[in-house]
């Protein structure tokens, strides 16, 4: 068994700035290729926030250092700063006009380049983003040729270069795996209880410099990223018309409850 001080992991957490569905009224913009963005407020993607918290907890518990990285523009800095206020040691902004319009593979390619710049034992991503497709984590692992576990809801550092990770399987079952480091994990919400960051915390790290890397610094060739090379393109964006089939149960509270139980039983919801 290796003592805790010796573990000292370098952890990279990939985060994304998204319009938080809880703080916005999302509506589709005319043209149908995007949502209305003029009144949106942004925050860190919820899943990513859990990943950062998990990384910080690992570093606090077992020793280590956490770097938060994001692909975005200058406004993304605010999100990185918030995660640093939680306790991440470094921030890294990957910003280049050439990155705009990248598809999932493009983003993974940019992140891969950033990951290769460091010596990370563990790379975490959120399982998915509010506005995403849950693809970057896996693609990043593949590009880096590293083992990957998705939807992780428990991490235990074993100290022998491996991790015990838990994953929730459909139906509520829990799977425990061992995975060799270095590796990539995508983190499920609920793995921890992310700490709160207030204005005071953000002001404390307000003057910490966040390095910016562009395509050149990362050594990413422009033909692999950006809108031009995206192989997945959004074709349409709409809110589905509400379908029929909703059944309103009426009656007193007791009657409603009884009918609901019968219905759930009939449909297999309750065994």
């Amino acid at each position: 068994v290796i003592s805790r001080e010796e573990i000292d992991m370098e952890i990279l957490v990939c985060v994304k700035r998204v319009p938080d569905s809880a703080e916005n009224e999302i509506s589709v913009a005319p043209g149908g290729s995007d949502i209305r963005r003029e009144d949106l407020v942004y925050s860190v993607n919820e899943w990513d926030n859990y990943a950062v918290e998990e990384a910080i907890q690992i570093a606090e518990r077992d020793g280590g250092n956490v770097t938060v990285v994001s692909v975005g523009d200058s406004e993304t800095e605010e999100v990185i700063r918030r995660e640093m206020a939680m306790g991440a040691g470094q921030g890294l902004l990957l910003n280049d006009a050439a990155f705009e319009g990248s598809d999932g593979l493009g983003i993974a390619t940019i992140l891969e380049a950033a990951a290769r710049k460091g010596n990370y034992d563990l790379i975490l991503t959120g399982a998915q983003a509010d506005d995403g497709a849950a693809q970057v984590g896996g693609m990043l692992a593949a590009l880096l040729d590293r083992p990957y576990a998705s939807l992780v809801n428990m991490i235990e550092v074993k100290g022998d270069g491996t991790l015990r990770v838990g994953r929730e399987i459909e139906g509520g079952a829990q799977e425990i795996s061992e995975i060799d480091m270095p590796c990539v994990l995508s983190i499920q919400t609920g793995i921890n209880e992310p700490r709160y960051v207030g204005l005071r915390g953000i002001r404390k790290v307000a003057s910490v410099e966040i390095p910016e890397l562009d395509a050149g610094a990362l050594g990413v060739s422009a033909d692999r990223v950006g809108a031009g090379s995206a192989k997945v393109r959004r074709a349409d964006y709409f809110i589905p018309a509400s379908g029929a089939g909703a059944e309103m149960i009426e009656g007193s509270t007791e009657e409603v409850a009884a009918k609901l139980v019968d219905l759930l039983r009939a449909k297999g919801g309750i065994r």
Binding site: D20, A22, E23, N24, E25, D39, V41, S43, M86, E193, P194, R195, Y196, V197, G198, L199, R200, G201, R203, K204, T253
Partner: protein, 727 residues
């Protein structure tokens, strides 16, 4: 005034702490020794302790030594107890001296809050005044031990004999009270004294021990005097019948003079030993209040509704430079907070009135004090090195859920007979948790939305005045965001602006204001949440940011006065903001307009229902507005209103809390609102009228949970008034 719970419950085994048993044994042995010693000394029957002999040795040496040792021990103990006070954070409490003196006269001297619990209160008043009266006698007895025939200056003549009569009655009354109190403690065991298992051992032994000491003092004082008087002829005639000394004199009459002298001197010795033992024992437990309560009441809260600043002497601009925020370790508490801990009487009134405690949340205000006191006594011992280890309070003596459970309703502070404060402590502990990122997940989202959007739901700013469209067909509401102005500003706040149901309160308020001829404007998109409960949840910086934005908008509106329909907004603008124009709750405005005749209300169409008024905490307790809403309700002809007796006005029971408390998911056995709705039902009401959108939300939900839909309804006062407006 409510009665005590005198329902007998199964007595738990009463266990005495070991040190109490040792001290008790020492007292008994010393008293026995005194008996033996004075027996040998009383060859010349003298009733003057100062001239008695102990085995050929002057007794006055002993009677000088007892006070000297007692006072030295007491002084030492107090000096040690002062250490945590001196290490604590600063807090200026020497302001508003006349108000503070008035509080001492009312709450301390006149025991104003005691009869709120009638039986215990009256008994306490008897003991308290007994002590005050007997203070002179005790002083005389101490000096009598070494000065022959000493009387206090001025107590020699007629005043002296009047005093003697009064103190004889006082001693008797105290003994009777002590006996009743002991029976209460042992047999009836009022529920509020119980100590839940998680908080440690039952406190009954300490209470009984002290009652025993007080009883011993009363008996020995009377016996000392009775022994002397029994040796005199015709003494009994001047004694008040049925007093303790009268009874003892009759019992002792006829005994040989030497025996009487022995009894008298033994009683004197027992009194001296007990008195100084009691004095030195006070600072070890809940009876410390005998000494501290005077000071605690003097320094108690003089302003209602406010919250202490993060740190005294640090400007808002300099807050960013503070290393840490709030209370994290014991020494972060202010000295007044430490004095609060010392002063807790363990009477359980705070917890008895605490809505969180009532519904089974993990909070009992009494144990906030007692756990901290135990911690201080352990880490700052009377003998030995102080070992304040700087361990965080949260996770050691306090639990996060315990601190988040408080709705800051203020019932505990309203009740405390010695002026202990809890709200500032809760807020300070929360500030510490917020600073360390320990915020319940359920509250983080609304806090984040408040930061980004100025309301806890993350609703669009431009929708803030959307409710105005529903005021009335063609009604025109002035909007500051459109450049319109008026002398009166209606500050709506978040829930009333955005919540579908609560928007009806805003619309009713607008119609009532218009009906009363008030020209008013609403800010619109630049109005942010008042931040009232953001501050009380410990997020001071977010609160200050909201306050700054609102202050600018309000100033820019040019308003000369502000009207609110939400008591949380009222309290924030009145007590948390500064430089605001006068702020009025709409209920006060309605009462004024009804008095002046500018508003007239039509008779109730359906006179079959009984109404009751629920006092919102931040309108009632925190802002002393109890009568205006009642007056407004009573102006409606044909309306029958009942009070929730024992649970109204400053004893109102919190609905469950407003602001961020709406989002917090507490551990609890039932909802506060359900308790409240049941109280209304017990009072015979079918309609609860309140004057706060959060109360309305909580009570509306509670009616459903309690299964009283269709039997009980709730409405806001402005809705009631709006419905009866006579055009």
């Amino acid at each position: 005034m409510t009665q005590d719970h005198l329902s007998p419950s199964r007595p738990a085994p009463v266990r005495m702490p070991r040190f109490v048993l040792i001290l008790l044994a020492a007292l008994v042995v010393l008293s026995g020794l005194a008996w033996m010693v004075v027996q040998y000394s009383a060859t010349d029957p003298s009733f003057s302790p100062a001239s008695a002999m102990i085995g050929g040795f002057p007794a006055r040496v002993l009677f000088i030594l007892i006070p000297l040792v007692g006072l030295a021990a007491f002084g030492w103990i107090i000096a040690r107890r002062a250490i945590p006070l001196l290490r604590a954070a600063p807090e200026p409490r020497f302001d508003r001296i006349p108000k503070r003196i008035a509080l001492v006269l009312g709450i301390w001297l006149a025991q104003w809050r005691q009869p709120r619990y009638m039986l215990a209160g009256v008994l306490h008043i008897v003991v308290f005044f007994g002590f005050l009266v007997l203070a002179a006698r005790s002083t005389q007895l101490v000096v009598l031990g070494f000065v022959e025939g000493f009387t206090l200056p001025g107590f020699g003549g007629a005043l002296g004999s009047v005093y003697d009569t009064v103190k004889d009655i006082a001693a008797t009354a105290v003994l009777v009270a002590v006996v009743i109190l002991a029976v209460r403690r042992l047999v009836f065991r009022p529920a509020r004294y119980a100590v839940p298992e998680k908080y440690g051992r039952d406190h009954t032994p300490e209470a009984l021990f002290v009652l025993g000491l007080i009883g011993t003092l009363m008996i020995s004082e009377s016996l000392f005097e009775a022994g002397y008087l029994a040796a005199q002829s015709e003494a009994a005639h001047s004694l008040t019948p049925l007093t303790l000394v009268w009874a003892f004199e009759r019992m002792l009459a006829g005994l040989p003079v030497a025996t009487l002298a022995d009894i008298s001197l033994t009683a004197f010795t027992v009194h001296a030993l007990t008195f100084f033992f009691f004095l030195a024992f006070l600072p070890f437990g809940k009876h410390f209040h005998v000494i501290t309560s005077l000071f605690n009441v003097f320094f108690m809260r003089v302003t209602k509704g406010n919250v202490k600043p993060v740190a005294f002497g640090v400007s808002d601009e300099a807050l960013d430079k503070l290393e840490s925020f709030g209370v994290k370790k014991f020494d972060d508490f202010t000295w007044k907070h430490v004095l609060d801990f010392y002063s807790c009487v363990d009477c359980g009134r705070c917890s008895d009135r605490c809505p969180a405690n009532r519904v089974g949340r993990p909070l009992s205000p009494r144990f906030i004090s007692i756990k901290a006191r135990d911690w201080a006594f352990e880490r700052y011992p009377v003998v030995g090195k102080a070992t304040p280890d700087g361990v965080p309070l949260i996770g050691s003596i306090y639990d996060p859920d315990e601190i988040w459970s408080c709705t800051t309703c203020g019932a505990c502070e309203q009740e405390c007979p010695v002026g202990i404060e809890y709200i500032d402590k809760m807020v300070d502990l929360r500030r510490g948790m917020v600073d360390d990122g320990m915020v319940p997940q359920s509250v983080q989202k609304p806090m984040s939305a408040l930061e980004k959007r100025g309301n806890p739901w993350g609703k669009l700013e431009k929708q803030r005045a959307a409710w105005t469209a529903g005021v009335a067909e063609g009604a025109k509401i002035k909007l500051v965001e459109k450049g319109e102005t008026a002398d009166t500003l209606y500050f709506v706040d978040s829930i009333t602006s955005y919540d579908d149901r609560m928007q009806k309160i805003a619309q009713a308020t607008a119609r009532v204001l218009q009906g009363g001829g008030v020209d008013f404007a609403v800010i619109g998109k630049d109005e942010k949440d008042s931040g009232h409960d953001v501050r009380r949840f410990g997020e001071e910086m977010l609160f200050q940011s909201l306050r700054e934005q609102n202050s600018e908008s309000i100033e820019a509106s040019g308003a000369k006065r502000i009207v609110v329909s939400d008591p949380h907004a009222l309290n924030a603008l009145r007590n948390d903001y500064s430089g605001m124009p006068p702020v009025q709750h709409v209920s006060e405005l309605i009462a004024e307009k009804l008095d002046s005749g500018e508003l007239k209300l039509a008779p109730l169409a359906d006179g079959s229902k009984t109404y009751t008024y629920h006092d919102p905490c931040y309108l009632g307790r925190h802002n002393d507005t109890y009568d205006a809403p009642r007056r407004a309700i009573d102006c409606i002809p044909g309306l029958r209103r009942v009070e929730m007796e024992g649970n109204c006005r400053d004893r109102s029971f919190c609905c469950g809390g407003g602001g961020l408390m709406l989002f917090y998911e507490p551990e609890e056995e039932q909802r506060m609102g359900v308790v409240r709705v049941r109280q209304a039902a017990e009072a015979g009401a079918d309609v609860i009228v309140t004057a706060c959108p959060f109360c309305l939300t909580n009570i509306e939900d509670a009616i459903k949970v309690a299964g009283l839909e269709g039997k009980m309804e709730v409405m806001d006062l402005v809705e009631l008034v709006d419905g009866q407006l006579q055009q």
